[in-house]
Symmetry: C2
Subunit: 145 residues, 2 copies
C-alpha cells in the first residue's frame, strides 16, 4: 500500500486505537512520510511529500493528521524561534541543534537521564512534564552539507 512497514503500521493503529481515533489511509501516508525522511519537515513540506504519494490529500488534512499523530504520542512538534512548526518522529529523549546557515534542525543524542536531570534546577514548586533543549549555531564544514 503506502510505504509503511508492518511494524510501523501496527504501532500506528495501536496508538490510534488507544486514543480512540481511527486508522485512515491519510494518517498512514503522513506517518510514512515522517518516518521515511527524518529531517524535521514543516507541515508544508509534509504536504508536498505526502501529495506525491497521495495526490488527492489536502493541506487541512495534513494538519489534521499531524495533530492526530502528535496527540497519540507518535510524533513530536519541534518549534524553533517562531519558524513554522516541524515534526519529528524520534521519540527518544534528545536535544536539537538549529543551524543558522542552512536553517536545518538536527537531533542531538543526549546521555541517558540527562533531560530528566535538568529538571533538578527547578525550585520545588515547579513540576515539569516536558524539557526542551535547543542549541543554535554553526556547523563546521564537512558535516552532511
Amino acid at each position: 500500500m503506502n510505504s509503511l512497514k508492518q511494524i510501523d503500521r501496527g504501532a500506528l493503529s495501536d496508538a490510534l486505537d488507544h486514543s480512540g481515533q481511527r486508522t485512515t489511509p491519510q494518517r498512514e501516508t503522513v506517518f510514512s512520510v515522517l518516518l521515511d525522511e527524518r529531517d524535521h519537515p514543516t507541515a508544508d513540506e509534509v504536504y508536498t511529500r505526502t501529495k506525491s504519494r497521495m495526490p488527492s490529500i489536502s493541506m487541512a488534512t495534513v494538519y489534521n493528521c499531524l495533530e492526530t499523530l502528535v496527540s497519540c504520542g507518535l510524533v513530536k512538534q519541534v518549534n524553533i524561534e517562531r519558524e513554522p512548526t516541524r515534526y519529528c518522529p524520534n521519540l527518544a529523549p534528545h536535544a536539537h541543534f538549529h543551524c543558522r546557515d542552512t536553517g536545518r534542525v538536527y537531533d542531538v543524542p543526549v546521555p541517558a537521564g540527562m533531560m530528566k536531570d535538568l529538571a533538578k534546577v527547578l525550585p520545588g514548586e515547579y513540576s515539569a512534564d516536558s524539557v526542551e533543549l535547543v542549541f543554535r549555531g554553526h556547523l563546521s564544514k564537512g558535516k552532511k552539507q
Copy 2:
C-alpha cells in the same frame, strides 16, 4: 521624562550608539516598559503598556523598537511553542518555565556555567552560540498565583 532610571538610560544609549542606532523617546519608553514589569510580555502587551505612557505610539513602532533592543543586545526574545514572541530584559543566563495552566513564563535561575556546560553534549562539528532550556508543566498551589 519616561520612567527610565538614569543608569538604564545610559545603558540604552550606549548600546544604541554602539550598534549605530539612534536614541529616541519611543525606544526609551518601550525599554522602560520592559524593565518595569518583567513578566515576559508579548508585543501586544508591550504596545498596550507603552501606549498608556506615550499614547501616540504605533504598533509598528513597538515592533521596530523591540527588534532594535534585541539587535543591540539589551533584550532577548523568548519563544515558546509558536505562541506570540515574548520579550525579556534579563540578560543573565537562565532557563524558562512555562506554566500550562496560566500560560505564564517564569525565569529560572541556573547554576553558574550550567548553560555553557550543556553545550558539551554536542558532537565536535557543532558549535553553539545560544543555548535554550525550556520546561513546561504545572506550578504547585501557593506560588504567586
